[in-house]
């Protein structure tokens, strides 16, 4: 059992959880993830490690409510326990010691760039721009935390309520056109965003890594459910990833594989919501 020490609501559908997990905190490195199972009948889902504190023995994760499991998790509060948290899993992302890096985060993907930004902040030779986007400024998460550890914090909103008005990819494109001279771009966010980032950087030939988020089961290399085609070869995102060369990733196949269980996911969610309503409004 893994105790939740603190919960913070970041947006109406996104929460941050501080979890007591000393073994994971001890060995976690930027780019890695955990697999969690909320309760005894639960499924195993991968979640990026947003932050870790070795001294306190805690890890931080950010979860957006999308389906049954994430909503079930959202019902837990401080002092409650998550049944299983396994990790750190995946390979740490390979970060440079010098040059200019653009961290591109979209939606709750911004949470995933925090550990990477922190690690890069410890490397004096690296200059980091964080280009993070959301529909509107209220949905832009962890802006203060990320902003504090990067050289330039460049928020983007679709409605222009904060920072650049438009998509992260448009701003990234403009920066590249303005010869900012990025040596590396890291993209974390919804798959269409990462795919678009890859297209923007491809023509400029800037090395780009994307954090893939396919369906996973065990997360230890045992089942192959997370296999992705990268450079024509199958890779296991749970062991070889989650970061891969974005220019080599077959995003079309990945998008298709990620949707494999859409019907079942919807079914589980509808059933969960119906039960939830039944508990909330007991019939006399």
């Amino acid at each position: 059992m893994y105790r939740i020490l603190h919960v913070r609501q970041l947006t109406p559908v996104t929460r941050l959880y501080l979890i007591d997990a000393p073994l994971i905190a001890e060995s976690a490195r930027p780019g890695q993830f955990v697999i969690l199972r909320v309760d005894e009948t639960g499924e195993r889902i991968p979640v990026t490690i947003t932050d870790f504190d070795r001294g306190a023995g805690t890890i931080t994760i950010v979860v957006q409510e999308v389906g049954k499991t994430t909503r079930l998790l959202a019902q837990l509060g401080e002092g409650d326990c998550i049944r299983d948290v396994a990790g750190p899993l995946g390979s740490p992302v390979n970060l440079p010691d010098g040059g200019r890096v653009a961290l591109v985060g979209g939606g709750f993907g911004t949470a995933a760039i925090l550990t990477i930004a922190r690690e890069l902040a410890r490397r004096p030779g690296v200059q980091v721009d964080a280009i993070v986007g959301a529909r509107t400024h209220e949905l832009l998460i962890l802006a203060r935390e990320v902003g504090a550890v990067v050289d330039r914090f460049l928020p983007c909103t679709d409605d222009g309520s904060l920072g650049y008005k438009g998509f992260v990819t448009s701003l990234l494109g403009e920066k590249i056109a303005a010869r900012e001279g990025y040596n590396l771009v890291l993209a974390v966010g919804p798959m269409p965003m990462m795919r678009a980032v890859a297209e923007v950087t491809r023509t400029a030939a800037i090395p780009t890594l994307a954090s893939l988020d396919p369906i996973m089961l065990d997360g230890t290399g045992m089942c192959g459910a997370c296999r992705c085609r990268v450079g024509g070869e199958n890779k296991f995102a749970c062991v070889d990833g989650p970061f891969f060369d974005a220019h080599q990733v077959d995003f079309a196949e990945l998008a298709r594989r990620t949707k494999m269980y859409h019907y079942e996911e919807r079914l589980a969610l509808e059933r969960f919501q119906a039960q939830d309503r039944a508990t909330a409004e007991p019939v006399a």
């Binding site: 499924e43 195993r44 948290v85 990790g87 089961l217 065990d218 290399g221 045992m222 062991v239 594989r257």
Partner: protein, 469 residues
């Protein structure tokens, strides 16, 4: 002495029609009368050859002799001196090629004594009639870490705990058992049996820590240098699935056997949506391969709603590696066998899901390195099997995560750890290994035998090493 019948006591089984709609165990087990009758067929040889065939040296003659006298509790005690997991072995061991093949009754044209069924009877008797107490071990103050809670790890942990060691088992998944839990289906090995056996180990003092992937969460160096473990046993198995690298392998509806079985056995996808893990099952399922895992997959597929289950194997019936009993059960349950058939590519529709399997007919050529005649494709014999689910049961290799994170641990060209078969010792002092991670994918009982030998090896090693103060 009783008349020695020519035939074994028949094992009652669940009717095939009922089987395919449930996960209930197929062989139902002997009654006490049947077991005593069968035990009476044992000649009590002065030099029992059957025991030579057993990887964990079960005292076959003596446990059966006690059973024949109606002393079931003593029989349990005798068994457990050597085998702490008899309910599992009695179900999944290939007895026909280990102990029973050595039985002296074979020589007079009779059926051998049904050693496996008796082993299962004795173990199940204990489960129903209360656990037979054993002397609690005297703690010796030395700590041993076991990595992986599968058959080799559980055996090694139990044997060491019985010798007084303070044993902690680290398991990557959220449940114990390894392949016993995620791989072998409920109808062949009920999960409650694995859970009970683990509970017995806990009663013996073995500690289990889940969700720890050694190689990522911790390293062997952490265990030995920082956490005070005097020795480590690596029993991480062979969990990495093999794919075919043919077109269409990433279509929806294509599973590795590990994924398919893990969804169902460990995650209970067959009870979706009560359990949250889903499984998309088609109507016509092709399983590639003809080992025990392939039989498990195809029989499971029929139980979760497939209308037709096909085995596609590039060699013939004679080369398949599945146990005769598993094959027979599959035949009874209506599985169709496509021998001498090799997949060429998996075909998909516009929706990205499987709609066919293109195959080519094969002929057997000369024997290969494994002694099996190697199959050769017949040119122009391609044809399409209309299927909507494909499961790849092509074997597995050791998971490299731990091995890559552990310096000074040599592996062979198959990615298996190099260890002394007699003691499990690797080239690193204090680090032992056994089971599939050393041999490549083999059987539960061979892994258990390796765990037992390593427990002896670790005991000898730590008896020579002074306890740090």
């Amino acid at each position: 002495m009783a008349m020695i019948g020519h035939k074994k006591q028949h094992m009652p089984v669940l009717a095939a029609a009922r089987r395919v709609s449930s996960f209930e165990e197929v062989p139902l087990g002997y009654t006490l009368a049947m077991a005593e009758h069968e035990a009476d067929r044992c000649l009590q040889c002065p030099d029992p050859q059957c025991e030579q065939g057993c990887p964990v040296q079960v005292p076959v003659r003596d446990f059966i002799g006690l059973l024949a006298q109606g002393r079931v509790e003593d029989s349990v005690r005798k068994m457990k001196e050597y085998n702490r997991l008899p309910a599992i072995c009695g179900r999944v061991c290939p007895q026909e090629e280990q102990c029973e093949i050595q039985c002296v009754l074979n020589r007079s044209g009779r059926h051998p004594v049904a050693i496996g069924r008796l082993e299962r009877f004795v173990a199940d008797w204990e489960r129903t009639n209360g656990w037979v107490e054993t002397e609690p071990p005297e703690p010796n103050g030395q700590k041993v870490a076991v990595i992986g809670a599968g058959p080799s790890g559980l055996t090694c942990a139990g044997d060491l705990a019985a010798r007084g060691y303070d044993v902690t088992v680290f398991e990557a998944l959220h449940a114990p058992g390894g392949v016993l839990m995620y791989g072998i289906p409920e109808f062949r090995l009920p999960k409650a049996i694995v859970e009970d056996d683990v509970a017995r180990l806990e009663a013996l003092g073995v500690k289990f820590v889940y969700n720890v992937l050694v190689g990522r969460t911790l390293t062997i160096d952490d265990l030995m240098d920082r956490m005070g473990f005097g020795a480590v046993f690596i029993g991480t198995g062979a969990g990495l699935p093999r794919f075919m690298k043919i077109p269409g392998e990433n279509l929806g509806g294509v599973y590795s056997a590990n994924e398919f079985l893990t969804r169902i056995n460990l995650m209970r996808a067959y009870r979706f949506p009560e359990y949250d893990t889903p499984l998309r099952m088609g109507r016509r399922v092709a399983v590639i391969g003809a080992g025990n895992t392939a039989m498990d997959c195809v029989r499971t597929a029929l139980r979760v709603g497939a209308e037709q289950g096909l085995i596609v194997y590039r060699r013939s019936e004679h080369e398949m590696s599945a146990r005769a009993e598993e094959y027979e059960h599959a035949v009874e349950e209506g599985v169709q066998f496509h021998w001498l058939t090799a997949p060429v590519r998996i075909l998909g529709g516009e929706d990205g899901w499987v709609n066919g399997l293109e195959c080519v007919r094969m002929e057997l050529g000369e024997p290969d390195a494994s002694g099996r005649r190697s199959p050769v494709a017949v040119p122009g014999s391609e044809f399409i099997l209309p299927v909507d689910t494909v499961i790849l049961a092509l074997g597995t290799t050791p998971n490299p995560i731990l091995l890559k994170a552990t310096p000074g641990l040599p592996t062979n060209r198959h990615g298996c750890v190099v260890a002394d078969p007699a003691t499990g010792a690797t080239t690193r002092p204090g680090v032992f290994a056994g089971g599939d991670v050393v041999t490549g994918a083999a059987t539960v009982i061979l892994a258990m035998g390796a765990g037992q030998k390593a427990a002896r090896g670790i005991h000898e090693y730590l008896s020579r090493t002074p306890v740090p103060v």
